[in-house]
């Protein structure tokens, strides 16, 4: 006769042991749950860590490429932006303007990828006036006309996808993306037509007469900065305190709620995109009148980065200014480092900025969610304490 315990042992031997087997197979190492509150300091610390991690990866990459002390790379990165501080300020201002221009649409959850194209056509229209109409009118009138046509062009390019989204619910991401390429092709075509030399580029327009150039305020970098400051103030007020801004944000939160309280969603959509286009048009005018004095596809080049900037800052204009500064700092720093240390081409900067975005986007997870080790996770990592808030 076998004892009961022996029988049980026998049964256990014959059959796979369910509770152990299943827990080993199914229980994950971490338990993830929603994080309702996190102190600002802790959130900031997490973001700081992600920035640090991005810099470390950049350093490692630099070491692998040219075999030098990583601290020399960091030194160059931090030295670079200060070599030409006005250019950095101007680039920051331009990036910030781009980011501010996409905010109204994004608050509405309208994924407007078309800022590139909207700025580009704005710039194109202003350059058209600059090239052909400046002889016939006083300079102040020409500059005013440039601003007006740039705004109209920007608004038209922004409103077209909005109308189709409102009317037929087309996919706005791809629509606006295609509008970017239409803008680029339009520029290619008109530059070809306007440029009599056949070089395919317009060159600096009115290089000698400076007709249609916005007069320098202090120096030529100040105007974009002023525009950026004004836009930041305007967008802060518009999004937080105006009825229009509230309606756009409500449509973004829930279309049904907006309809329920009697908001005309289609009207709000078109109006908000018109504002987006207007800001892009102004920016296009700034490019034409004060920054590039010419038009080419590079004018719209900051648009995608700007979307990332706006998103990382939670569409909060003052924070966007900080993020734009950080991104520009990193870009010009790595560009400087890559040329002074012979890391190869300046495309190294877009790799660094890409890595930076990956880390910062990824770090949002640790702010939104709480990660704890499960019982099995603790066993695997040999942690006995109850603190599992692994970050």
């Amino acid at each position: 006769m076998k004892s009961n315990s022996e029988k049980i042992a026998e049964i256990k031997e014959k059959n796979p042991q369910p509770e152990q087997a299943s827990s080993a197979a199914r229980e994950p190492l971490f338990h993830v749950s929603k994080n309702s509150v996190m102190s600002r300091g802790k959130a900031l610390a997490i973001r700081g860590c992600s920035l640090l991690a991005a810099l470390i990866i950049t350093g490692i990459l630099g070491v692998l490429l040219v075999h030098i002390n990583p601290f020399r790379i960091y030194k160059e990165i931090f030295k670079g932006p200060f070599v030409d501080i006005w250019t950095m300020l101007q680039d920051t201002a331009l990036l910030l303007c781009f980011a501010l221009a996409v905010v109204p649409a994004f608050k509405m959850k309208f994924f407007n990828m078309g800022a590139n194209g909207q700025v580009l056509v704005g710039c194109l229209a202003a350059i058209g006036v600059m090239k052909f109409l400046t002889p016939y009118m006083p300079n102040w009138a020409a500059i005013l006309l440039m601003l007006v046509v740039a705004c109209i062009a920007g608004v038209i390019f922004a409103v077209i996808p909005a109308v189709f989204k409102a009317w037929a619910d087309t996919n706005e991401t791809l629509f606006t993306l295609m509008m970017n390429y239409i803008a680029i092709e339009l520029v290619n075509y008109l530059v070809f037509v306007w440029d009599k030399s056949g070089s395919g580029t317009l060159g600096i327009v009115n290089l000698i007469s400076h007709a249609g150039w916005v007069p320098n305020i202090g120096n030529k970098y100040v105007l974009p900065v002023i525009v950026a400051v004004l836009m930041t103030v305007f967008m802060t007020v518009y999004m937080n305190y105006s009825k229009h801004g509230f309606e756009a944000a409500l449509v973004g939160e829930s279309v049904n709620t907006a309809k329920y309280v009697g908001i005309n969603v289609k009207k709000v959509m078109i109006r908000t995109l018109a504002l987006s286009g207007l800001l892009c048009g102004i920016l296009g005018f700034v490019y034409a009148g004060a920054v590039s004095h010419t038009v080419n596809a590079a004018v719209g080049g900051k648009g995608f980065t700007a979307i990332l900037v706006a998103w990382l800052a939670g569409f909060n204009p003052p924070i966007m200014a900080l993020v734009a500064l950080l991104v520009t700092f990193l870009t010009s720093g790595t560009q400087y480092a890559s040329s002074s240390l012979h890391l190869g081409s300046t495309d190294f900067a877009s790799i660094t900025v890409g890595i930076f975005f990956f880390f910062v986007i990824g770090s949002e997870f640790f702010i939104r969610y709480r990660v704890e080790l499960t019982a099995r996770g603790k066993k695997v990592f040999k942690i006995k304490s109850k603190k599992g808030g692994e970050v």
């Binding site: 239409i182 998103w311 877009s350 890409g354």
Partner: protein, 322 residues
């Protein structure tokens, strides 16, 4: 007639870039992930292919030491590995860390384009790449000048590979159990989770596979379409966006993508064949994009049930949030 044959041949050749990209993107979208990083992934695929060519040529002391097929196989392999690695970044951020898919995609595109431009300059050498490109072209050798052989048999190995992958993907998604599960993950992950499908595993697997397929588009453009001449300056990014648009234009159906890509390719090449002045050719450049927009609108207006995107496209899945 002769013109028509050349246009069709060119359209198929150009369309293959879009076809790889859009089939790869379709695979990922079926798993509920809208990957706007596809342009960047295609750039990484092009770089990987270039790396493969560089590797083969660097380790070959004379031409006979590494036969043509080795160049092709190694660069396809590395193209897929590089593209999958880029896809892995996207998968980790969107699936494990539940980040916004659009934002991660844009960052990946910035990154991928930068990586390709930066590293391609280090490994590019025009003679090696031009010579190697011959191995990618004319799979069936010299096929004569009949219209059938010209249109259908005069292409490189990657063109046929693209069509095979498209057909296989279509059958796989529609007819197999794994394909059914994949669609469930894209349509309603909570339900799929409830019946015991491992959502994360499916998303990871198909994002990586889809990325690998997309990446081949970059390789094809560099090594076959442009004979290895434009590696460092290839506008792969623009083609990537067209590929993303093609997915919607063909309503998430890979077989339809074959014809859609030929149409898109045709629009891209046709201006060279029309009696246009130089400025008109420039103006014609925007036609592919206008047509894409028109297709997007028409598909929305038709509004049929089986034309719609996977229901949970673009959303990350968190089990405790129901």
């Amino acid at each position: 007639m002769l013109k028509l044959i050349s246009i069709l041949t060119d359209a198929i050749a150009m369309g293959t870039v879009y076809l790889f990209g859009s089939v790869g993107e379709t695979i990922q979208e079926k798993a509920g992930n809208l990957n706007l990083g596809t342009p960047g992934i295609m750039c990484c695929g092009a770089l990987g292919g270039g790396f493969g060519v560089w590797l083969c040529s660097a380790h070959a002391t004379d031409a006979a030491a590494s036969p043509g097929w080795l160049f092709v196989v190694v660069s396809i392999l590395f193209s897929m590995i590089f593209a999958s690695a880029a896809g892995l970044i996207y998968a980790f951020l969107t699936v494990t860390l539940k980040a916004n898919q659009n934002v991660v995609g844009l960052a990946l595109t910035t990154f991928g384009v930068g990586v390709m431009k930066f590293f391609s300059k280090m490994i590019y050498s025009d003679t090696v790449f031009c010579n190697a490109s011959a191995y990618f072209k004319n799979l069936f050798g010299n096929v004569g000048s009949g219209w059938f052989s010209k249109i259908f048999l005069s292409h490189g190995i990657l063109v046929y590979l693209a069509i095979i992958i498209a057909i296989f993907t279509s059958v796989f998604i529609k007819k197999t159990r794994i394909g059914l599960n994949l669609r469930a993950v894209g349509e309603n992950p909570a339900t799929a989770d409830a019946v015991g499908i491992n959502i994360s595993a499916y998303k990871y697997a198909f994002i990586l596979i889809g990325s690998a397929v997309s990446g081949l588009g970059g390789l094809y453009y560099v090594m076959d379409k442009t004979n290895g001449t434009t590696f460092t300056e290839a506008p792969v990014e623009a083609f990537g966006w067209m590929a993303v648009a093609l997915v919607i234009a063909t309503m998430w159906k890979p077989v339809l993508s074959i014809f859609g890509s030929i149409l898109f390719g045709g629009l891209y090449v046709i201006s060279a064949y029309l009696p246009l002045s130089f400025s008109q050719i420039k103006l014609f450049g925007m036609v592919p994009y206008v047509i894409t927009i028109v297709v997007l609108i028409v598909i929305r207006l038709l509004n049929k049930k089986d034309n719609q995107p996977p229901a949970s496209l673009g959303m990350s899945y968190f089990r405790e949030e129901r």
